[in-house]
Amino acid sequence: MFPEQLHYNVAPFIDRFVKWLVSAWGPFFDGLSNLVLQMLLHIEHFLKWLPWWAWILIVTLLAWRLTHNWLKTILPGVLIFTIGMFGLWEVAMETLGIVIIAVLISLVVGIPVGIAMSSSERVNAVITPILDAMQTMPSLVYLIPALMLFGLGKVPGVFATVIYALPPVVRLTNLGIRQVSREVQEAALVFGASRWQMMKEVRFPLAMPTIMAGINQTTMLALSMVVIASMIGAGGLGEEVLKATNRVAVGKGFEAGWAIVVLAIVIDRISQAAAKSWEPPQN
């Protein structure tokens, strides 16, 4: 066995660090927590306020606008209808609320970080391993610090979800901007584009299809993490799955699982179609 003398643990230091964070930065985390909670409640309130048929109508219209294909238009509405049919409408809206806010936070943080990575090799070299770590770490691990900093409930659920869902949008923003053709950038430069104009007029719009793919990935990951986050009290569909698992209620578990899949399919299809509308026109 490994010699006893060489045993050394970093766990106590990390514990102490998190404890220090909680005590020294307590007010900050409280404020942050409050802010996120308020935003979340507003979004949730709105989602639940909108009647179910209005939802189906909106989704159907959106699908028609984006796809112009009648099967792809009908399907999302029908799928959403089944969520209500199983009596899971309200919890599905809770899940959707957390996904929306987690994605919003991810974009606000992720897109600027991606832009910074694309314009500096040094930033790129620092951030890339962090993203790698975020993606390889088991998602349950994020629950612990989120729990310590924000306690039980929806807010730590949101933060754990953000950490898990952030990497794709950062990576794909970076990639998309790096892929912008050198020739187009050179032309913009010679006509006197400032750094800001280059980003706003050339690099960002041309990277947009790739960035949209990143947003789509981030949304999908957020949805899958929200289910796990229900273990620390985030509520929503994940909680239904958890309850069903604990009681070995296979049927209930299926219904809740189905609702999650439906949300995933609908969000995925709509955001992919939206991404396509950003691509420059071909012949």
Partner: protein
Amino acid sequence: MTDANCSDTLVEINGLWKVFTDRPVDFDLQYEDAMENLEDNGAVVAVRDVSFQVKRGEVFVIMGLSGSGKSTLIRCISRLVEPTQGEIIVKGQNVLEMDEQQLLEFRRYETAMVFQHYGLLPHRNVIENVAFGLKLRGVSERERNERARTAIARVGLEGWENHYPSQLSGGMRQRVGIARALVQETDLLLMDEPFSGLDPLIRREMQDTLIRLQKEVNKTIVFVTHDLGEAIRLGDRMAVMRQGQFVQQGTPEEIMNNPADEYVERFVADERALLSGKGRQPVYFPSKSRLTKKAKSTSPSAPLAAAGAEVK
């Protein structure tokens, strides 16, 4: 530099060097030894002590084969490529001494450029592409659309304003590129092999368009090409470039009649053969001889003169 002719010299380049290297260059470029030493260490000397002047309203053609440094040279003028040493004076301003903001203004108001690969914005339509430079200057949308329309008409693209680059042919894309440069109304126009990517018929047509436009707008043009025929057709004066150096400078006639060395002689013999092969008039359509030349010259080792001799 400060002689009486200064006022009608628009561009003046003195002792320009561009060395591509991964370490800072701090050497005295005057010494041949220093250069050789540098090249042994993996540096590439793209532009080697080049000097020339371009007068207002003149078309100055830089001709050279690929890898001769001509594209690097033209990019130095607007500092898309940062020169290693030398002097670039445009309208009396030293371009290399400009700070970031001055350079931005210089690029916006004093130069415009046309590229071989067009460099159009794929997500913007023709009119937005043409008006792009004006947008960067902060011109209002109404005014820039109006001016863009005039420029589009000038290059013969009316009715295509709302099409996207991907919907246009190569020749039409380059017309957009030219319109985008013209709309800037700058004195100096830089053209980097603008017609090289086009097939011979269209190339001819575009050359004629440029000659017509030049009569109308009378710009000062620095034009880069690998085609001596094009250089002779378009240039008021020209330079032959090889391995970063100007081998010869002069009017096309001077170069045709008195090639400075064997290298230039090979080009000239080839071009002469082309012209005499089909009588005195310029070749308007790709005749057999022209095709023969193109086919031969694609192989880098085939001496150009040999191809010309065959046609004779």
